[in-house]
Symmetry: C2
């Protein structure tokens, strides 16, 4: 076994999920994540916790959904009971075909999702963490050879998380104290209000209210957006390739938009509901282990020297208690490259220039 | 997909487990049973039942057990809650290495088993069924090519179960009415009392209190065993190969024994406890789809033209209510070939001769 599989398991169990002796853990093993499952089981055994191992197979899920008449039972008792009694849930993603669910009608998926609100809430109430084992299917999606893709994944996952968390805290402090963020680059000059909002230091650990491994971003919930922005990092939205999206905001709302490729899916997003026209998230990628786009949002949005904005739903963690932020049925992230001729300013002061933060070496000459 | 995989799933879901709309089902998918998992998910979807899919991986289990200090938590809440709220549990066996658990100390396995008594009971309280997908590993254990092994498995599983159940009922009636069974063949003349005991028609369906697919045996709980018996069908007990076991009984107890191969494990069984010296089961194989030994007790003990006897624990289903039969920590099945120069008699009347029952064509000349 590649020794990095065991290291991945240790980071997941100790840094991310903070598994303790006696914890009741659900481990969901993807079709291609068997090896990571073995390593995680070993780590859980060493910590003296209690695993139930589920099988996260897209092929099995698709086959079930496809055969079902669509009248799904509401939160089946046995599954609800499993998650209500769990302390942690570890999702080991990594399948064998990212298109396995492609022919399940989106209506069926939505109905299924809707029928399981209680189960999802119970799961979200645990110390859950989502990660991915490098599989050939994900390498293919990233247009990379498997060998190189494994290196990519482990560079992203096996960080010095403690030191990255400390660095991200500096940015969080600036954002928490600030009132306004401005992005300036080619075809982009965008201003967003952030006063009263709290940034999340997403340091890949439940201790930071961060549930993805890898993580490595600081995000908040902006509002009152004004100006234009170019998203020049290619991505996939709802299975469709999207390139060079341009948005213009007035009074916090998108008033004009275009895309070189995939404009229809951008339009669908914007026209979903009221909230689809407004931003729900401003995220700043800080994981320097992620140095390329791999068409996988779990990784892409944490890439250092990028910023992402999401149309749609805001996260509660960014909002003052009792205040509700942007509400929407969607949350669609789009990325812009900040590595060249680009500045991120907070209250008029440059915090990041050409991908370098002001506390980093080389910021002055950047 | 081999169309027989879907047929297997249908037999399992409809005939064996009697899955109904709305049932909460746990499906345990073995490492090599993915394809059957897909077909079972489809069948469950069609029936409108609700699956939780678990991953029955020996490698993950061994890795967990091996890493654990052995102080296992008693019936972890989340797992107990899952099974207490389930209507049915379907075990889709079929791994990738039958020796995967070989280096887990038997003490660890026993401690783990003991810590999960409540979970096991909750599982046994459901309409559970255990079956096996044909895998290369099981083909290897059977010393057969994979192609031929698949044919073997589907011949065993895809029976006309309704008609076999009716035939087995004839034998059950004879045993229920009878007081004594006698086996006569080379080096064998064994008499067992069965009066007051009830035979189980094990027709591979929860409707018959039968939880294995394939099944196809009628079994009861004998006592007061007298005489000698030769078990000439090779088998594996506790991972050890065993051949030509000879037992001599007096007053229901083994008083003398030998084996051409593996005598030590036979001795261990007999000396486990008081019940290890007595029979707990007499089973008569009636599945004509099983025409050879494959070193897999789920199949071997149902093979037509064989009889098996188990040293150790008797099943409650065979006993009058409030009566406890033979009690023991072990239950070890051993087989004898009844196809040649062999008779099975009930109260002195020949019921089976050279593998043919008296209601079958050819019995007169057998």
């Amino acid at each position: 076994m590649d020794p990095r599989v065991r290291e991945h398991a240790s980071v997941l169990v100790d840094w991310s999920a903070r598994i303790e002796p006696g914890d009741d853990v659900v481990v969901s093993v993807g079709e291609g994540a068997h090896q990571l499952g073995v390593a995680v089981a070993e780590a859980i055994g060493e910590r003296g916790a209690n695993p139930v191992v589920t099988y996260g197979s897209d092929e099995i899920r698709a086959s079930y959904l496809d055969a079902h008449d669509g009248e799904f039972a509401e939160d089946p008792d046995h599954e609800l009971a499993l998650y209500r009694n769990a302390d942690s849930v570890l999702f080991l993603g990594g399948g064998r075909n990212t298109s396995e669910m492609a022919d399940v009608p989106s209506e069926t998926r939505k109905d299924y999702r809707r029928s399981r609100t209680g189960i999802r809430e119970a799961r979200m109430d645990t110390d859950w963490v989502s990660t991915q084992h490098p599989t050939r299917s994900l390498a293919q999606q990233a247009e990379m050879p498997y060998r190189a893709y494994r290196d990519f994944v482990y560079d992203a996952v096996l960080r010095d998380w403690k030191s990255l968390a400390a660095e991200m805290d500096r940015l969080k402090e600036i954002l928490d104290a600030g009132d306004e963020v401005r992005l300036v680059k080619a075809e982009t000059d965008l201003t967003m209000a952030i006063d009263g909002r709290t940034a999340v230091n997403s340091a890949a650990s439940v201790a930071y209210d961060s549930h993805n491994l890898p993580s490595g971003e600081v995000f908040t919930a902006p509002f009152a957006t004004e100006g234009t922005v170019l998203f020049d990092v290619p991505m996939t939205i709802d299975g469709k390739r999207v390139r060079d999206v341009r948005l213009t905001f007035e009074d916090g709302e998108v008033v004009d938009w275009s895309a070189e490729q995939g404009e229809a899916v951008v339009t669908d997003t914007i026209e979903t509901d009221e909230g689809g026209r407004r931003l729900g998230e401003l995220g700043i990628g800080m994981n320097r282990g992620i140095d390329r786009v791999t068409d996988n949002i779990l990784f892409d949005e944490k890439m250092a020297e990028t910023v992402h904005l999401a149309l749609g739903r805001a996260y509660d963690a960014n909002l003052p208690e009792s205040e509700s932020g942007n509400e929407s049925a969607v949350h669609v992230d789009m990325l812009t490259d900040m590595s060249e001729d680009a500045e991120l300013l907070v209250d008029g002061e440059v915090v990041q220039r050409n991908g370098r933060f002001r506390w980093e070496d080389g910021f002055a000459d950047a």
